[in-house]
């Protein structure tokens, strides 16, 4: 479907664009990842707002159960794994683990943004650039739902990757 490819290609261009402008300017490499993550953050915030309105207006009966008030963090994380991920990547998170003390690990075995890149260890060192935006996306979505967090990602073998969410208790 063409609309899936749109986001993938745009995302790839975004990453290469940020790195290209880094070469011309005096920005060190570390800043690029931060820039991408901040972009993802702002997008995540807007997406969550829109997701709330659309869910409620369009499909009241089907989603009534899913839009139940988020009783706790676990509910919110499940929402991120199912609805949020489906909206952006057309699939759900494959595995969610938690230590019940504020750390959640979301595992996606076939991460959409990495499937085109390689099927094993090739290009592993570049994978982190392509995960920064998505980390920000998760952080932005959580922040608008009232949760401060830190999101990091790791890849051991493409295209599977893990996002680790650390909830910050105030």
């Amino acid at each position: 479907m063409a609309d899936e490819a749109l986001f993938l290609l745009l995302h790839n261009e975004m990453v290469s664009g940020v790195y290209k402008s880094a070469e011309q300017g005096e920005v060190e490499n570390g800043r690029c990842i931060t820039k991408l993550e901040n972009m993802g953050f702002r997008v995540g915030q807007g997406l969550i707002e829109r997701r709330n309105t659309v869910l409620l207006l369009v499909d009241l009966f089907r989603f009534t159960k899913d839009t139940a008030r988020f009783k706790d963090e676990l509910d919110i994380m499940k929402f991120i794994c199912k609805d949020f991920w489906t909206t952006v990547f057309k699939k759900q998170i494959d595995n969610l683990r938690t230590n019940h003390q504020g750390i959640y690990v979301l595992q996606d075995n076939k991460f959409r943004l990495l499937t085109q890149m390689s099927a094993g260890k090739q290009y592993l060192e570049h994978a982190s650039k392509y995960l920064a935006f998505t980390c920000g996306l998760i952080r932005g979505g959580l922040s608008n739902l009232g949760i401060k967090s830190i999101v990091t990602a790791e890849v051991s073998s493409m295209p599977a990757c893990k996002f680790q969410v650390m909830i910050q208790k105030l």
Binding site: R42, Q45, G46, I48, E49, R50, N52, T53, L56, L57, L60, T64, K65, T67, A68, R69, F70, K71, N144, L145, G146
Partner: protein, 137 residues
């Protein structure tokens, strides 16, 4: 119609507040501020209940002799408060709900505006709000 419309951020400061210019605006600011307590009460009381469009709409918060105050809260804890004239008895519940829905949609659009930083005052609501305020007058 609505004499005052306010959008309140989750940290409980106003993002947008507008009232019909003929009245003393301070009075409406005060009313909206006191209604926040009622909103918080309703949110915490709802706790375990299933939330859908109907529950995001909080309904009549409290009536005074001249005005009625209605509330609505989003999943991201942004509150919309609307003050309407009590003398306007023709205003039905459905109309209030649809006004809140319009507000929510406009708020979502503002959030997606790249020039808007979340947490700033909202400049973009004026047109829509004016149409709501003078609809029936």
């Amino acid at each position: 119609m609505a004499v005052c419309i306010a959008v309140i951020a989750k940290e409980n400061y106003p993002l947008y507040i507008r009232s019909t210019p003929t009245e003393n605006e301070l009075k409406f600011h005060y009313m909206v501020h006191t209604s926040l307590d009622v909103v918080d009460e309703k949110i915490s009381a709802m706790g375990k209940a299933l939330v859908d469009q109907r529950e995001l709409y909080l309904g009549l918060l409290y009536p005074t002799e001249d005005y009625k105050v209605y509330g609505y809260v989003t999943n991201s804890k942004v509150k919309f408060v609307m003050v309407v004239d009590s003398s306007n008895t023709a205003l039905r519940d459905n109309e209030i709900r649809s006004m809140f829905r319009k507000l929510h949609n406009s708020y979502t659009d503002v959030m997606c505006n790249p020039f808007y930083n979340p947490g700033d005052r909202i400049q973009a609501f004026d047109n829509m709000v004016t149409s709501m305020m003078i609809q029936v007058c």
